[in-house]
């Protein structure tokens, strides 16, 4: 049993609404996003998604996975009022790719993969070079997610949110 903490209820609301919105947004924009500095990247939710609905004892979870599937069963769950609790995200910039599974309730990252780091080292190289490159790639991958979470928050707290919800509804009814 995990201890309850301040903000836990809001964590679940924000995390699930974000991932649900992110799935919609990535499909609506065909995965194409831009960073504040103008850098383009693509983001898709793919392969594995868990959705959950209900409360307490009547909680229901559906996990769907499929390599090339459209995850229809999970989307059906959303159309029935469920929310995304965990989603696999793939980000690409040119030939670089990141992949991770993000959990809605606490934003923990599972199976976080960065573009490959060359582990070959020459004599005289900085002994920390591999570590520094890896951390750079991890933080770069995170910056895309953080940017989209910020975009989501701005929209969520704005008057435009009602319209966005309508868009999500239309997407779900398709």
């Amino acid at each position: 049993m995990e201890d309850a903490y301040l903000g836990q209820a809001k964590d679940i609301i924000l995390g699930q609404d974000f991932l649900t919105w992110l799935w919609y947004k990535s499909e609506a924009k065909a995965g194409l996003f831009t960073m504040p500095d103008g850098e383009a990247f693509s983001l898709f939710m793919e392969q594995r998604i868990s959705v959950q609905g209900g409360e307490g004892d009547s909680k229901e979870t559906t996990s769907v996975s499929g390599l090339m599937s459209e995850l229809r069963e999970a989307k059906l769950g959303l159309a029935m009022g469920k929310k995304v609790t965990k989603g696999q995200i793939r980000i690409e910039v040119d030939s670089d790719a990141w992949q991770m599974s993000l959990r809605a309730e606490d934003f923990s990252f599972n199976g976080f993969k960065t573009p490959k780091v060359d582990t070959k080292r020459d004599e005289g190289d900085d002994p920390d070079a591999i570590f520094l490159e890896k951390m750079y790639l991890i933080e770069r991958g995170l910056s895309f997610i953080d940017h989209l979470f910020f975009e989501f928050l701005k929209l969520r707290l704005s008057e435009g949110w009602a319209e966005e919800c309508e868009n999500v509804r239309v997407w779900l009814s398709k």
């Binding site: 679940i12 309730e105 934003f107 599972n110 951390m135 953080d146 919800c165």
Partner: protein, 204 residues
């Protein structure tokens, strides 16, 4: 799986308070003061503390220092002795049977509850001393420029152990970057006040 693995699992934190300048030079000492202590030759149930990022056997940072560019990197090592419940049950029964035999010879009919508990304790201690602790370690990376800390685990028990040891070691408090706290960080305290009234959206 640590940060250098092809695939890693982690959670993020940020520091609630500013780090006093006087703390930075003390970090190596503070790590050593709270370093992992081996329990292979004891009967202790568990031990935890900091070790070097490069080598989980190195609790004196002889392999490499923790500072790497704009990061401090070390690891939390946790060794745990687990004796299987079935093994405990068997050996407690053996010990209690011997004790029962002994008290019968003295003309008594049963072993007191107090004595039975004592026997159980002794058996546990004996079994633990014969069981090797299982080591585990979790990378910790502290980005000192952004004051973000990464822990290579998402288990809640390990996380709270880490949070406590971190505060004990550095007198600094961590805030997990869960959706709510991350939102507060991104929006700034003022705009974040609106989050407190937020309710789950019904998309359908």
């Amino acid at each position: 799986m640590g940060f250098l693995s092809a695939s890693s699992t982690f959670t993020r934190y940020r520091l609630i308070e500013e780090v006093p300048d006087s703390l930075w030079p003390q970090i190596p000492d503070r790590l050593k003061r709270n370093a992992f202590q081996d329990i292979d030759d004891t009967a202790d149930e568990r031990s935890f503390g900091w070790v070097s990022f490069e080598n989980m056997l190195d609790n004196e940072w002889l392999t490499a220092p923790p500072d790497k560019g704009q990061y401090l990197a070390f690891a939390l090592r946790l060794d745990t002795r687990r004796v299987s419940a079935a093994v405990v049950k068997k050996h407690v029964q053996i010990a209690q049977d011997i004790e029962l035999e002994r008290v019968r010879e003295q003309g008594k009919k049963f072993v007191s509850r107090e004595r039975r508990n004592e026997i159980k304790e002794q058996v546990m201690l004996r079994l633990r001393a014969r069981t090797l602790p299982v080591p585990a370690y979790f990378d910790v990376v502290w980005n000192i420029r952004d004051n973000v800390i990464y822990l290579a685990s998402s288990q809640s028990k390990l996380r709270s152990l880490f949070e406590d040891l971190f505060t004990l070691s550095f007198d600094l408090h961590l805030e997990p970057l869960t959706p709510y706290y991350k939102a507060v960080e991104l929006l700034g305290e003022e705009r974040a006040a609106a989050l407190d009234d937020i309710e789950g959206e019904r998309f359908v």
